[in-house]
Symmetry: D2
Subunit: 148 residues, 4 copies
């Protein structure tokens, strides 16, 4: 059976890194990426981490499994500018029967621009919380295996 | 039976006006509303025209009727700036069994900022073109009645 | 002189309420407002609170004063659906020489959909932290006066 | 001296192709990419075409040259779905002293999803139309050279 993991553990269960280029309409009159764009990048980060593990979020939804964000926390340290190529490090921090925790660090080169965390809840088509079908989330299954 | 109308007719079938305030993240590093935001405002314009007629787009979708944009044309004359309160005039120009044409003029005060046109196709849940249920679109029904 | 306020104080310095209607493109394939849209609404909430106090964020930027979000925290309790008219309560929780704290509660009717908090830093044109020109932020000035 | 080119010419001056993956929040309750997202992809297409030619739009803006969209036309043939990897073909169709025309075709595999055209006007910092500094737009310079 799956069980909750300690989000404060030093070792993430899984780490994945992507690059994302800042789009023009993502930037605001300050000339920098608007703060509401960062959660979109974080979502891409966890989606690509799932894909790299052999899973696919589109298939999850087709199977009636929805991962809804129930918590979002971001610390913005330095602005991201138009056309910057950013490096996003996504970590799977913990997962349990119905919730998944990720952490994110966004860099331009070696400069840390932002840190963030999210909690996802696993929902069915009718919005009811339910168990995560771990067989569809290979990275998590392997993380569990290692941890068991 | 419904029939196609002449989009070039001088008289629109229905006219509706709304105000929309330019949001901060809708503006780009030029300090003006990004051109991809205008279609979002046009969509609000036709949605509110439908509501003012006694219809409701959410109810249409709940009934399995989807209006998909198949044509979009915009001429941008002058920029819209952050926090501007704009005046959007939406016109129903023509409607037929499966297609609806709207025209739009966007103003700041008396200054014309943009002109646009859209064609919507009526689709069912599976994306197949189908007849518009005119009983759910009161403004169009009345327009037809006047025109008949 | 301005001084930092206790963010945990039960009494907010200022409270303002607006309505916001959920736009179609703000909703995702789950049929509900995407989580990255909520911060855009919160920004509108604090902008309108400033306007209601006699200030104007556009004027602040024109004067070289930029308020950048450095912290964002959101708890999502229940989804917001397309075309819902939401009620957003924005509170000014604390303000000091260079930082401002707001809290937000988003409702549909009496149902609490989300709670959030932000910290803004006051920056000059070159992105350097600087003092908030309180004479341009009437609500804050009055809040201080009451508090002094 | 630069001169206007015939937009109807069969041969584009320059062609560039990119891939773009459909993001989750770009999709609406119909489960497909919202029509207002397509112009954002087209902008990325022409930006990347410029980059592939050795130019850079960020540098253009830093030099006080802004390319504003004054015309947008899109025909939507078939929906793009979440997580689809699309293929965008961008063509430079014509360019003259102050205006640039592009055409776009968006595919999923071999299926044509949309066709579009834009006209850009070259503006200075104050929004006045001005000549395009062709030395900063290598692809256009080469296109002209070939064409002369």
């Amino acid at each position: 059976m799956t069980r909750a993991r300690d989000i404060l553990s030093a070792e993430p269960l899984q780490v994945h890194e992507i690059e994302v280029r800042v789009r023009y309409p993502e930037c605001d009159p300050m000339g920098v990426a608007h703060h509401a764009v960062f959660p979109i990048w974080f979502e891409i980060g966890r989606t690509e981490m799932l894909r790299a593990s052999g899973g696919n979020y589109r298939d999850l939804e087709a199977a009636g499994v929805f991962l809804a964000v129930v918590r979002l926390e971001v610390r913005y340290h330095s602005p991201a500018r138009y056309d910057d190529v950013l490096r996003l490090v996504t970590e799977l921090r913990s997962w349990g029967p119905v919730k998944v925790e990720h952490a994110y660090r966004l860099y331009r080169g070696d400069e840390l621009l932002a840190e963030a965390g999210t909690t996802l809840a696993c929902l069915d088509r009718d919005g009811r919380a339910g168990p995560l079908p771990t067989e569809m989330v290979p990275g998590m299954s392997r993380a569990r295996a290692v941890d068991a």
